[in-house]
């Protein structure tokens, strides 16, 4: 037993070293920094300095509101779409499956900067292909970047395009682990395909759907690149400002590490709450 301890920790050592230096210590450190005034030299303890400012800061509540709004709309839409993609890609009736898989899974390899640039051009007011197509069917142009509602919609469209296929891959793997005889038995009993979907597929897939939803929520909660690059620093006028962007501006533009850490721990609090909901949702019924 003693021999195994030494061997095991020798294999774990480099990983645990990186983990301690770059994760464990930072987790503690940013908690402590959130209680310090960091724009004085040296930093000093001021327990209510950042947190007190946070609860009275309209910019924080604006970012929180936007982030939650994106979460509440974008995540359910994307997960539903991913379920539809996965179920249809799994259909034995589908021809040229490889082409469809490529179409939906390709965005997974596209970097945030590359696709942000493309979306900016596609949704350009006067010369973007989207408005040209809207006009060609008689609809008016939409000013995607100067009005808050279209700008938020654009961010959600972009994120959904990028991540729906990613979730569909995970869900498809889940679908393929459901044994065929479950469906065969249902078909013999003349249960319709639609009923099979709602009474067999969805319940069996529930743990994976919840897993995808939690990863998506935590990803979207930290949304940064899209409002940074597509709607240009959270524009128009803070209309697409997210918590991730607020953290960036406070931490790395204003170099206010204390306040930015308080924002970071607000996100962590949300993430913990969501994880607890997940554990409760996927708890095995007694």
């Amino acid at each position: 037993m003693r021999h195994q301890n030494a061997t095991a920790y020798r294999f774990l050592a480099p990983y645990l070293l990186i983990f301690s230096v770059f994760w464990v210590w930072p987790i503690i450190s940013s908690f402590l920094i959130s209680f310090q005034a960091t724009r004085t030299v040296p930093w000093r303890w001021a327990p209510t300095f950042n947190w007190g400012r946070l609860i009275g800061d309209p910019a924080f509540f604006n970012a929180l509101k936007n982030t939650l709004l994106i979460l509440v709309i974008q995540v359910p839409v994307m997960i539903s779409l991913a379920i539809v993609m996965a179920v249809l890609l799994n259909s034995p009736l589908l021809k040229a499956r490889g082409l469809y898989r490529f179409a939906f899974f390709a965005p997974v390899v596209v970097g945030e900067v590359a696709y942000s640039a493309v979306f900016r051009l596609m949704f350009n007011l006067n010369f973007g292909i989207i408005n040209k197509l809207l006009n060609s069917v008689g609809l008016p142009s939409i000013d995607w970047f100067s009005n808050v509602t279209p700008a938020m919609a654009l961010i959600m469209i972009a994120v959904t395009w990028r991540w729906a296929g990613y979730n569909a891959i995970i869900l498809l793997a889940g679908l393929q682990s459901i044994p065929d005889d479950v469906y065969e038995a249902a078909t013999l009993d003349r249960v319709s395909k639609v009923k099979q979907f709602f009474y067999i597929t969805l319940p069996l897939l529930k743990p994976i759907i919840v897993f995808c939803a939690v990863l998506s929520i935590i990803g979207t909660m930290q949304l940064f690149t899209e409002p940074f690059l597509i709607t240009e620093r959270g524009g128009p006028g803070g209309g697409t400002e997210t918590l991730g962007l607020l953290l960036y501006r406070q931490g790395f533009r204003s170099l206010n590490f204390g306040y930015a850490s308080a924002v970071a721990y607000t996100m962590a609090g949300l993430a913990i709450a969501i994880t607890l909901v997940q554990l409760w949702l996927t708890k095995e019924p007694k």
């Binding site: 990983y15 930072p26 390899v109 942000s116 493309v118 900016r120 006067n126």
Partner: protein, 278 residues
């Protein structure tokens, strides 16, 4: 034709009628990326609808290279991604091996902590990481800064633990009876057996490093030290910039990954399905 097979045919047609437009919508941004990258700027910003590629890619690329040293940035991105992938695969396999094959004091705690970090927002560690790397270690604008902090990867370790724990013990016990050392068993017996899983992990890690944006944006902000996505990102939003050039850069970042994706689709999908990246 029986009514049964007629119903089947009907369902099949409905399926394709629904999925084909959706697939075309999904491919559209990628197609437009290619089209834009081949159009001159005055073509991109013109009132007509252009859906087919032109022949201006080389000029666009030259404009991009004028706006920022993109070739240099690609060089940094490739070197960093290759080094990162090698080191990260090694580290996560070693840790996964230890968790899969040995009993040791504190194992439960290590696993619990790794699981706990999966749902922890990266934002929580970002600021102290930056202070540490940039101020304490004075490593901003170096390769080390790009490679080392992201080496911690929780889902990769769980993936490799799973891979190693599914292997039969007899293989390793036989080697132990012969007196082979544990690290040799790991390197020469276990790793070769795990080759498909290692491939899946390596692809996912390479992609994560290649596309990583926020950390390189913060830590390597000097022009000569930027990765390719960061260099490209600095151009977006400038008033006097070649958008054809930006699109040429986007194509250079994206198309190689699409080719890899098509060639190694199985490994890719296995890696993502196992949740190897956040």
């Amino acid at each position: 034709m029986s009514s049964r097979s007629q119903a089947r045919l009907g369902r099949s047609i409905a399926l394709h009628l629904f999925l084909t437009p959706l697939a075309l919508i999904w491919l559209f941004p990628l197609w437009m990326m290619v089209v834009f990258s081949t159009m001159p700027d005055n073509g991109i910003f013109s009132p007509g609808i252009e859906l087919l590629p032109h022949d201006n890619f080389i000029d666009n690329f030259n404009n991009l290279q004028r706006d920022t040293n993109f070739v240099g940035a690609i060089g940094i991105s490739v070197s960093v991604a290759v080094t990162y992938t090698f080191l990260s695969v090694l580290l996560t396999s070693m840790a996964g091996w230890a968790l899969a094959r040995y009993n040791f004091v504190g194992k439960g705690v290590v696993v619990a902590i790794i699981l706990g970090t999966i749902t922890l927002p990266y934002a929580v560690v970002l600021i102290p990481q930056f202070i540490m790397v940039a101020r304490d270690f004075q490593l901003a604008n170096t390769w080390v800064a790009l490679i080392v902090p992201p080496l911690f990867n929780s889902l990769g370790v769980l993936f490799m633990r799973q891979a190693f724990s599914m292997m039969p013990s007899d293989l390793f016990d036989a080697a132990r009876v012969e007196g082979v050392k544990e690290w040799r068993i790991f390197l020469f017996v276990a790793l070769p057996l795990a080759r498909p899983m290692l491939a899946a992990l390596a692809i996912i890690l390479f992609l994560a490093s290649w596309n990583n944006y926020l950390w390189p944006l913060l830590i390597n902000s000097q022009p000569g030290a930027m990765t390719a996505p960061v260099a490209l990102g600095t151009l977006i939003g400038l008033t006097k910039v070649s958008w054809g050039g930006i699109m040429a850069g986007a194509v250079m970042l994206t198309v190689p990954m699409l080719v890899v994706f098509v060639l190694l689709q199985r490994h890719f999908i296995a890696g993502i399905a196992a949740g190897a990246i956040k």
